[in-house]
Amino acid sequence: MAATQVIRSEWTKIRSVASTVWTLSLAVVVTIGLGILISALSKNEFDNMSREDKLSFDPTFISFAGMSLGQLAMIVFGVLVVSNEYSTGMIRTSLAAVPQRGSFLVSKIAVATGLSLAVGLVTSFLTFFLGQAMLGSHRAEIGDPGVLRAVIGGGVYMTLIAMFSMGVAAMLRSPMLSLGILMPFFFLISNILGNVSATKKIGRYLPDQAGSKIMQVVTPINDDTPYGPWGGLGIMALWVAAALIGGYVLLKKRDA
C-alpha cells in the first residue's frame, strides 16, 4: 500500500465534508476578529497602565489574544476529523480499504495537520499585522527580535492544539465525549489552574499554557516560568505525542 494513495484518499475525505470548512473558517475569523478588538482596546488603555504593566506590555502577544477563543474551533476541527469516522460508521469501510491501521491514522493526521498548519500560519500573520495596525504607536515590527518566532509560533500553536485534539478523539472515538472533555478543559480548567497561585506551578505544564509561551516576545516582570518559548513548545509537543501515541495504540488494539 503506497503511502501517497492513503494520503490522497484522506485529502479527498477532509475536503469533501462541510465541517472542515466551517470549523477552520471559524478559527480564522474568531482569532483575527478578537485579536483586532483587544489590540484596539489595549491601545486606548495604555496611558492608564501602571509603570510595571507598561514595561511588560507585549504588543505581539496582545494581537494573539483571540487565540484563546479561536483555539476552540481548532479543537472542534481536530476532534471531528477523527471522530467523524466513528460516529458515522465510516471507520469500518475505511479500515477495510486500508487495513494497515498505522498508515491509516498517520495519513489522516498528516493531512489534517498540514491543513491546520497552513490555516494557522495565515491566521497568525494576519492577526499579527492587523493587530499591530490597531496598536498604532505601541506596535511591534515583524523584524524586531523574537517577533517572527512568535508569529510563526502562533501558527504552530494552533496546529498543535488541533493535533492534540485528534489524538484525544482517536482514543475516545465519540465526538461528544471528546468535545465535552477538551472544550471545558482548555476554556476553563486550564485558565483556572494557571491563574490560582496554589496550582500555578502545575498549570503551566498544561499543553496550552506551555505552548502559548512561544507567542510571547516580552517576558513579564516577576515571571518565574522555568522554561522559555521553545521549552514551552517542547512541553506542548510532548503532550501531543502522548495523545497521538495513545490514539494509535488503542486503534491498533481495538475492534473496529
Binding site: S9, V17, T88, P99
Partner: protein, 322 residues
C-alpha cells in the same frame, strides 16, 4: 476463496463465534445463514480484519487480510449501508475509497452507473433512502473489481425491485467465476439465491452443505389423504406395507412422495378419496428446527445438571422453629 480455520471470538464470557471452520469457494453463491445474533456479522468483520479473532484464522486467497496489497481489488464487502459519512457525496465517498487502493477515478463513474446512482452522484449520502444507501455500499464493494464479494444482509429494507436487482447481481457475479458470500437470516431468501449453504447458530457451525442436499435432507415430503372409508384404507395401506400416520383432524399422512402408488392402490380396492396431495415441509421450518436445536443445546450446556436444589423454605420457617 475464503478459508476459515477454527475461527473463534469471545467477548468476556460470551462466545460469539465458536470454532468455525469452512471454505467459501469461487463460482457459486454461498449463503451464510443463521438467526439474528448467531454471529454472522462478527464472523464477517473478522474476515475483513476489522475484529480480531480470539483464536483461529481467516485467509483470503491464502493471505491474511492485512497482507493484501490494495485489498479492495481482492475482496469487496457491503457490511452495512450506513457505514459512510452522510455529509459526503456519493461520488466523493467512492473516490476516497478508490484513491486509497490505487483504483482509477473513471472506475467510480462506472460503478455508480452499475448501481444506478449516476443521477445522484453529487448528492450527500444522508439524503439517500435505505435502498440507495445499500446501492452505494454495493458500488463500494464492486469498486476494485474484486474476485471475492461479501454482502451482509443485502436485501434488508429493500423494496421488491431492489431485492430482485440484488439477487440477479449476486448470481451474475458468481456466474463470472467470482466468490460470492452473502448472509441472511431468511431461509426463503437463501433458497432463491444460494448454491451452497453455511448455517450457524449460537456461533457454531450447524451445516455446510449444498443447497440441493440441504433441501433433500431437511424438507420432509409426505402425502396427505382424506377419505370417508378411513378404516378400509388403513387396512389396505397396512397390508401393502405403507406406514401411515393419523393426524388429529381426520386426515392421514404417509411419509415420502408416493402419491401415485397410493392412488393406484385405492383405485384397485375401489376406495373413495377426497384428497390425495403431495406436501412438502418448508425450508423455513427446517431451518428453524436446525437452529432451535442449537439454542436448546446452549441452554443445557449452561446449566449444571446435578446442581443441588436450594433448600425449600416456607413462609414462617424463621420464627416457627423457636
Amino acid at each position: 476463496m475464503i478459508e476459515l480455520a477454527g475461527l473463534t471470538k469471545r467477548y468476556g464470557e460470551k462466545v460469539a463465534v465458536n470454532n468455525l471452520t469452512f471454505t467459501v469457494r469461487p463460482g457459486i453463491v454461498t449463503g451464510f445463514l443463521g438467526p439474528n445474533g448467531a454471529g454472522k456479522s462478527t464472523t464477517m468483520r473478522m474476515m475483513l480484519g476489522l475484529d480480531r479473532p480470539t483464536a483461529g484464522d481467516v485467509r483470503i486467497d491464502g493471505k491474511h487480510y492485512d497482507q493484501l496489497k490494495d485489498p479492495l481489488t481482492y475482496i469487496g464487502a457491503l457490511l452495512d449501508a450506513k457505514a459512510m459519512h452522510g455529509g459526503r457525496s456519493a461520488f466523493n465517498h467512492l473516490l476516497c475509497l478508490a484513491q486509497s487502493n490505487g483504483i482509477p477515478k473513471k472506475r467510480v463513474d462506472e460503478v455508480l452507473d452499475t448501481v444506478g446512482l449516476t443521477a445522484v452522484a453529487r448528492k450527500k449520502a444522508k439524503g439517500f433512502s435505505l435502498g440507495m444507501g445499500q446501492r452505494l455500499g454495493i458500488a463500494g464493494a464492486l469498486l476494485g473489481d474484486p474476485q471475492i464479494l461479501m454482502f451482509d444482509e443485502p436485501v434488508n429494507g429493500l423494496d421488491p425491485e431492489g431485492i430482485h436487482w440484488i439477487r440477479n447481481l449476486m448470481k451474475s457475479l458468481a456466474a463470472q467465476g467470482r466468490t460470492v458470500f452473502v448472509s441472511s437470516h431468511l431461509m426463503s431468501e437463501m433458497a432463491l439465491t444460494a448454491d451452497h449453504l453455511v448455517v450457524i447458530g449460537q456461533g457454531r457451525l450447524l451445516a455446510d452443505t449444498s443447497m440441493a442436499d440441504f433441501i433433500a435432507q431437511n424438507s420432509r415430503s409426505y402425502v396427505r389423504i382424506r377419505t370417508p372409508q378411513r378404516e378400509r384404507l388403513l387396512d389396505v395401506l397396512h397390508a401393502a406395507g405403507v406406514t401411515v400416520v393419523e393426524t388429529g383432524n381426520g386426515t392421514l399422512e404417509v411419509d415420502g412422495s408416493k402419491s401415485e402408488y397410493i392412488g393406484e392402490l385405492a383405485a384397485q380396492h375401489q376406495l373413495v378419496l377426497h384428497e390425495l396431495s403431495p406436501q412438502q415441509a418448508s425450508l423455513e421450518e427446517a431451518f428453524m428446527q436446525l437452529t432451535a436445536e442449537s439454542v436448546e443445546y446452549h441452554a443445557h450446556s449452561d446449566t449444571p445438571v446435578d446442581a443441588p436444589l436450594p433448600p425449600q423454605q416456607q413462609w414462617g420457617d424463621g420464627w416457627k422453629g423457636k
